[in-house]
Symmetry: C2
């Protein structure tokens, strides 16, 4: 018979009661304690190691721990089953530290958003608050209460008509009379119609905020924006709590498709957004009621999960989502805690793997209005590529895998405390300099760190153009790992303090190569299909939160980014969030983004015969065709002189 066990998690000191026999990972999920997991609980990624300080836990495998560690209580949270009251410690590297580092630097905000913020674009937010003083009815002016209100609003709106829900209509007569016919109408853009969402007593038109959100597979970022002047009041971000169900989209979809689990993922992402919203309103001394709308960009799966739409078919060929153009909904219908009648605007997607984040990126970049052809590259768990101008827009999605977000590499980690984010080598034996996030002791490597490290290893001859580690390049730093492959030591050979060594294995290099190869191949296939080369591209825009922190030279050096003149390469930051913000601030932008989605042609790489050829060609540092990388060729030539 299953008993009830008390589980306490350290260091958060959260306690929960569970039925005996469930895994520590499941218990942590119930307790709201985050445990790192890339594989979603399959026992294969080894990221969810925890330490059982007290009590009985059974069933852990021995693959990821030393005998000593096992004796100390180390176990995979996804495998250890709770059999008694236990105390479990989540060690630093298994925790998700609260806040991702790369929220967004304003410096890279696209000019359109900056213009908008400075009101050079017409500010016409999706939800408006309009104060009206209405004339009292008389026998000669006997419009209904609703007609009177609409009449008072009419001049300020371009709309085919107003609509009002029954609940608000029922409250209208008392509201008008008790407030001397002076009220504030909260109105929402609904295509050709305008909904009078709510009517508030007196003048509340100055309190009208929105949340613009970018819901990524790995991180969720929210900006608090004042809809009255377009100013961004605050920013907050956190890791997507769905990480406990797996690091990548596919694992999430598999989990969601299991009977009864879909709602878990929905609640998880809604919970994250609510956390961030609460954080922001608390900090800015607002009430959730002051938030009139949420404008969300994100990949197709995240938008689906937020809206509670089934995701199973996105993962199966031909990769079909339920709906790419969603109308605005009452945010409360999804569980979001803002104004009880506030609206959720989900931006449109293009295909199962080209989401609203990409479309928002196009909007924010302004490329759909440009005469010149530009390319937008968004590097995240997937890499999305868009090429186009005012006449055409073509996009593709390359499954890069989570390598650039710290996944699938032996020491890979997200961009949180202790992650090596930049490194320079003097030679194969000597690290010249490195930095870690928050200057913590180095405990792993994040995406930008891998790009730097591999470029440097290539530059100093630790690896060759095929990515193969030369065993003899550095006796001090190159060694054979426990599973028999070569690895290169980034931390000091004499040890890394209390932490394990940080290394890059041959398999890690191969992973990064495949990831960058997929993205570069996608760029090549798209251009090839358009009968273009990079010479025809006026600008290459690199989006994605981590773009801002990339070392450009190194990114080009390993062949992740094309070898174009530096003035043609621009980091544009989190364009997904910027687009979500533009849509919230301007109904015109919101309408435009649906036209963008409709006019963007999706290019399915899996059916494109040249993709595999381009991918194989790109699985080389920087590329098998060195003519594509003249500056790298020159640098390598110079070095070998």
């Amino acid at each position: 018979m299953a008993g009830i066990c008390k589980v306490s998690f350290l260091p958060d000191d959260k306690t929960i009661e569970v039925r005996s026999g469930i895994t520590i990972l499941a218990a942590a999920g119930k307790a709201g304690v985050f445990v790192n997991s890339l594989c979603g609980g399959d026992g294969v990624c080894g990221r969810c190691g925890v330490i059982v300080r007290k009590g009985t836990v059974t069933g852990g495998s021995t693959d990821f721990f030393s005998h000593e560690q096992i004796q100390q209580g180390h176990i995979l949270a996804c495998e250890g089953r709770i059999e008694s009251d236990v105390i479990v410690e989540i060690p630093e590297h298994t925790r998700l530290s609260g806040t991702p580092e790369f929220i967004e630097a304003d410096v890279h905000q696209p000019p359109e958003v900056r213009k908008l913020a400075h009101r050079q674009m017409a500010l016409a937010p999706l939800v408006r608050k309009t104060y009206v003083e209405l004339p009292e009815p008389t026998l000669d002016d006997n419009q209904s209460d609703l007609q009177r209100l609409e009449h008072g609003l009419k001049d300020q709106f371009k709309t085919q008509g107003f609509q009002m829900g029954l609940k608000v209509t029922r409250r209208l007569p008392d509201l008008l009379r008790q407030n001397d016919w002076k009220v504030t109408a909260m109105t929402g853009h609904r295509g050709p119609l305008t909904e009078i969402i709510d009517v508030e007593p007196g003048k509340t038109s100055r309190r009208n905020m929105c949340i613009a959100a970018d819901v990524g597979t790995t991180t969720v970022v929210c900006h608090l924006v004042d809809l009255c002047d377009g100013q961004t009041l605050g920013k907050a971000g956190k890791y997507n709590s769905q990480i406990r169900y797996g690091g990548d989209i596919i694992r999430r979809i598999i989990h969601a498709s299991e009977s009864g689990s879909h709602d878990e993922l929905r609640k998880s992402i809604v919970g994250d957004l609510n956390d961030l919203i609460l954080q922001l309103v608390t900090k800015h001394r607002l009430s959730t009621k002051d938030i009139s709308l949420v404008s969300v960009a994100g990949n197709t799966t995240m938008v689906h999960l937020l809206a509670g739409l089934p995701v199973a078919n996105i993962r199966k060929e031909p990769y079909i989502g339920v709906a790419y153009d969603l109308p605005p909904f009452r945010a409360a219908e999804t569980g979001l805690q803002i104004h009880p009648r506030g609206l959720l605007y989900c931006l449109p997607c293009v295909a199962g793997f080209v989401g609203a984040d990409t479309v928002a990126g196009i909007l924010a970049s302004g490329m759909m209005r440009d005469d010149n052809v530009r390319m937008l590259i968004d590097i995240g768990t997937n890499g999305e590529i868009v090429v186009g101008n005012k006449d055409f827009l073509v996009c593709a999605s390359a499954s890069a895998g989570p390598a650039f977000e710290g996944g699938e590499c032996s020491c890979g980690m997200r961009a949180s405390s202790g992650a090596i984010d930049h490194i320079r080598l003097l030679d194969a034996d000597t690290v010249l300099s490195f930095s870690t996030i928050n200057s913590g002791d180095p405990v792993g490597i994040c995406g930008t760190g891998y790009i730097d490290a591999i470029a440097e290893m290539l530059r100093v001859g630790v690896i060759d153009k095929t990515g193969r580690i030369s065993a003899e390049a550095s006796p001090a730093r190159i060694r054979t790992s426990s599973d028999g492959q070569l690895e290169y030591l980034l931390t000091e050979p004499e040890g890394n303090g209390d932490n394990p060594d940080v290394t890059i294995t041959q398999e890690d290099i191969n992973n990064i190569m495949r990831a960058k190869g997929a993205i570069f191949a996608a760029e090549s296939v798209l251009l090839h299909a358009l009968n273009m080369t990079f010479d025809d591209v006026a600008e290459v825009m690199v989006a994605g939160a981590f773009g801002n922190f990339l070392n450009v030279d190194n990114s080009v050096f390993i062949g992740l980014l094309p070898d174009v003149p530096s003035e043609k390469l621009r980091f544009v930051g989190n364009t997904s969030l910027a687009g979500a913000k533009m849509a919230a601030l301007s109904a015109d932008c919101y309408e435009e983004i649906f036209r963008i989605a409709a006019n963007t042609t999706y290019f399915e790489l899996s059916t494109e015969p040249t993709f595999m050829y381009q991918f194989v060609s790109a699985c080389f540092f920087p590329h098998t065709n060195l003519d594509l990388f003249p500056s790298v060729m020159a640098a390598l030539a110079k070095k070998s002189e």
Copy 2:
């Protein structure tokens, strides 16, 4: 301490437990037993007489019963307070017999509706069901499920866009795949947009019905209409159960405005509609799920109560309703039991006392498209008058009171079994013939009966042109009533079997004169304001369920209807219901009715200085200005020869 008493009602044999001290009327309301009441429980109309067969009831006044009756247990239900277990009999005349007699004769259906039914007008119902067979998605045709469905529907709709609620969207992928991509979309007209209300497996497009309803103060009538071919499948009607709260609009509003009572009236009318819907679907072997929409016309107060909107301000100067143009709502939101996602379309009103019934009447009459000026007179508890053509529409509401619906007259009753509906007098002493509804024993007089009786009394000299009863006209039939006024006996002087005598008192005649005077004055004021006379009016249309049964000559004779050539006078039946049906069957008609409401000018009689003069002039049989009634003048002249 209040005990619990068991109350049994005969003849329905319904039993309920109540706290001691509550009135029989209140207990009957709780038990769902209908008790006639015009005054709404104020103890003044004397209509709610019941007989206590067993048990103790206290508090009845003696005003309305003889000593013998009181000994037998007669008491007003609104006054008698239950003090023990009781058995209460509701006598015939206090019951509401189930079905009003004047539901609608098809013969008088306006030609537009008949045309529509024969598909001479484009059939484009507000809710449509469209069967589609969609192509399966492929890598080359990778629209989202929703895009695919919309694409399949697109060609068949003129719309600015489709919208679908989250709940249906969530079910969409399984629905499509489990039904081999063959589904039926149920779509609702929402102005410029089309809502995909629901998606059903396979082909259900042939099962798409609607309820067109006319919600009157006294009667509620529903037609079951097949939206696929416009055919009316069935009709049902009943008395408005709100009658228990009072016979006229004002009493209902007063009751609704009492704290907590508003929802009682809403539930009451929703209950009546649900009863009729269930009756119709059961009879026609349908399910409520087959009813896709309800299209409702009714006076402003009834539409408000149905939608749950507060009505208090309609009764207070300047008589302002909450909303006259309501968008479509989910019918379930009001409690109506049709398809769970079916829509309720409330037709628009013009003012607090000119409702959707009048606007629907204009639509059904087609007068807004006519070159010629026509007049529409709707005689109910209120009388609404519309004058106009394709260039203008002007309307007014005359508070006729419930006299024509059997209220406020001593023997007045609704048009149910035993009501005298037609009568002819040979002379002052002799009734030549009369008829009663359902040929029952005469127990009272309904509206058409009063018109006949008064016209005949005028013709044979029982009353003069001022309406005064001549005491000496008939010693056998004219007598002094218990309260000292003269009354004229319609039933035989030697007695009326087991029933009380049926009489018309001086006060009854005055009531009818005021009612007809108010309506005629409204007609006159409107024409006068337009600088017109009846000669300028091409046709006078008399609407209202009872219109069909009116004796035209008598109506003109007493001055209720104008003295125009008979070919200019037309009974058009229940145009309110006809308009509701037209709107349901044709989105164009639905859009047109909102334009009609917007273009109809409301004329407030209470602020019109000439109204009182016209009213006083019309309080005469037929009128003080006999020139207005040449045919009556001729008839009277002929008689006096």
